[in-house]
């Protein structure tokens, strides 16, 4: 097995024994990047020299000492570009500070290496909305890797990253992880500081890792969590050792299956894989309990009001004055129209189609006369979605469902049909609306349109109960072989 095919846990042993150095890992990853990144579109940029320089001083006694980790291109790493997948920040923005998540990873010894491709400003479920090039699914290059953290998932799935940071606003870690055969976890809202993450929808965004195994997810999560005074939504709570829960069986664990998660429209292969996974968890000691989440059907409508509304406000900062693209104002534009011209031209040139669509939608639902009809109504709907989970977690410890209703789709399949694309996020969005921790773990492979594609199992727990999510996902993972299946290569 090459270094880049290994897990973090495996490489840690080799690093500690002195069999390999951090530079060996970076060189091995770099070799793969040079070979396949052009066809995969996983990375927007990477700086191997800077990573090798950091590797020279890596402290191997630290838990992630010398481990390179790819970073979604909307998380600031001082001195590196941070494009957010947008022409707005292309070639004219260098991060002047570190995100807290980067500071914490570095404290754990990790080396940020590579800027992973993404949907522009994290808006999308396919990574087709990157302003540079689409990322492709390593299992079938004609298909999407999911989004918006598609570059992160592709890089891990194709063995050109050991692990990668993503951001999850409506499923953007878990859905691409499912599509690429990886593990992806969205921690409880507030567990990980959002300081330094370029905001899309502030009440929903959360940083988390995409990895090859549950153990690696726990290892990385140990070095992402913690209170941060620079983020007013950061929770002042103890951070457990997430690896301590691994290795336990599922005896005594109550797993909820909601009838609303097994509706018409789910791909039959996905339904079958998830049903088998539930039986497997039962055989490992879990008790299966039928539950109801009656407001599942309004999750998407709620999300696609709240997220664009917050995005329209967050993206107002992109005005061409302090950073990013700036349009020229011709001399013949009248003085009293020059500033409006500057803003409109700058933003129209800088933003891509999906971002413009969401800004327009968000501006509309917040505008006079429609605020109560859409925005307030969606906030009330959010209360109902959250209440569903609160009631469910009185009866169960986990809610299990498919991560996605359908397998990875072909690039361009939803180009002119954004609503159908939005509906793909049916199972992942509720965890964001309610702020819950949730993971996607591989649970099968299906034959679909002549290709073999991965399936994801989605596990959700009550707030701050990542330990149970990881414990259950790890027990299931270790009882199966799905996490050992790697993409056939490119």
């Amino acid at each position: 097995m090459s270094l880049s095919e290994s897990t973090i846990a495996q490489l840690r042993k080799q690093l500690k024994s002195g069999d390999i150095t951090p530079a060996d890992i970076i060189k091995d990853l770099h070799q793969g990047m040079e070979k396949v990144n052009e066809s995969l579109g996983a990375y927007i940029s990477y700086d191997v020299e800077a990573a090798l320089k950091e590797a020279e001083t890596a402290d191997l006694s630290l838990p992630l000492g010398g481990i390179p980790i790819a970073v979604k291109d909307n998380i600031n790493v001082k001195g590196q570009p941070c494009t957010c997948g947008s022409k707005f920040l292309d070639e004219n923005y260098t991060a002047p500070y570190n995100a807290t998540s980067i500071d914490l990873l570095r404290k754990g010894g990790a080396i940020p290496f590579g800027r992973a491709n993404m949907d522009e400003f994290a808006m999308g479920s396919s990574t087709e909305n990157s302003a540079f090039f689409p990322a492709r699914n390593p299992w079938d290059l004609a298909r999407v890797p999911g989004g918006s953290s598609g570059g992160s998932a592709t890089a891990v799935g194709a063995n050109i990253a050991l692990a990668a940071l993503g951001s999850d606003t409506g499923g953007s870690i878990r859905q691409p992880a499912a599509f690429c055969g990886n593990v992806g976890i969205k921690p409880t809202y507030g567990r990980v500081s959002r300081y330094g993450l370029v905001a899309f929808a502030s009440s929903l965004d959360q940083i988390g890792p995409i990895t090859k195994t549950v153990e690696d997810a726990a290892l990385v999560l140990n070095h992402l969590c913690g209170h941060d005074a620079r983020d007013s939504t950061s929770l002042k709570v103890e951070v457990p050792d997430f690896t301590s829960a691994l290795g336990q069986d599922l005896k005594g664990l109550r797993i909820g299956i909601a009838k609303e998660h097994f509706i018409d429209g789910i791909h039959p292969g996905i339904r079958e894989a998830v049903e088998k996974a539930v039986k497997q968890m039962e055989s490992l000691g879990a008790t299966i309990v039928d539950i109801s989440l009656p407001h599942t059907d309004i999750g998407i409508a709620t999300y696609y009001i709240l997220a664009p509304a917050e995005a329209s406000a967050n993206l107002a900062r992109f005005d061409g004055v302090r950073y990013g693209h700036r349009a020229e104002v011709p001399a013949d534009v009248e003085n009293d129209k020059r500033l409006l011209y500057h803003y409109q031209k700058t933003r129209s040139e800088g933003f891509g189609p999906e971002v413009k669509r969401r800004i327009l939608l968000g501006t509309y639902v917040l505008s006079s006369g429609y605020y109560d009809a859409y925005y307030v109504k969606a906030q009330k709907a959010r209360t109902l979605v959250r209440r569903d989970f609160t009631e469910a977690f009185e009866k169960v410890d986990l809610v299990v469902s498919p991560t996605t209703p359908v397998p990875p789709f072909k690039i361009g399949a939803f180009r002119d049909d954004p609503l159908s694309l939005y509906l793909e996020d049916l199972f992942t969005i509720p965890a964001n609306l309610a702020g819950l921790p949730a993971i996607s773990v591989p649970c099968g492979m299906i034959q679909h349109e002549g290709v073999e594609l991965p399936v994801g199992l989605h596990l959700t727990a009550k707030p701050l109960d990542e330990v149970t999510v990881l414990r259950a996902a790890h027990a299931y993972e270790q009882a199966t072989e799905w996490h050992k299946r790697r993409a056939p290569g490119v």
Binding site: N92, P96, R347, A381, Y422
Partner: protein
């Protein structure tokens, strides 16, 4: 609550976006379709009886000690400025000379 036609020109101006005719036509139909879908919220009669949730988790005021600390230098703050002059951001002229 749903609108088959929205005043997209006005919305674009509020959003500080300038749309081409082609964009106007495309977004008009796409956004109308998305807003039509929002009717699904109407199906739940219990919606009116609940309080809105702005945040899934409690949000607290953040206080820090009133003490000086390092921040961005002027040079760092200006490092990404598209246009700058004499240590300041250069903005588009809005008044008569």
């Amino acid at each position: 609550m749903s609108q088959s036609e929205i005043n997209l020109q006005h919305t674009a101006k509020l959003a500080r976006l300038e749309l081409t005719e082609e964009e106007m036509a495309r977004y008009q139909s796409q956004i109308a379709g998305i807003l039509d879908y929002m009717k699904v919220l109407e199906a739940h009669e219990d919606l009116a009886a609940v309080d809105p949730t702005a945040h899934a988790m409690p949000v607290y005021d953040v206080w820090r000690e009133d003490a000086s600390r390092d921040g961005f230098t002027a040079e760092e703050a200006l490092s990404n400025a598209p246009r700058k002059s004499q240590g300041q951001f250069l903005i588009t002229r809005v008044v008569e000379e």
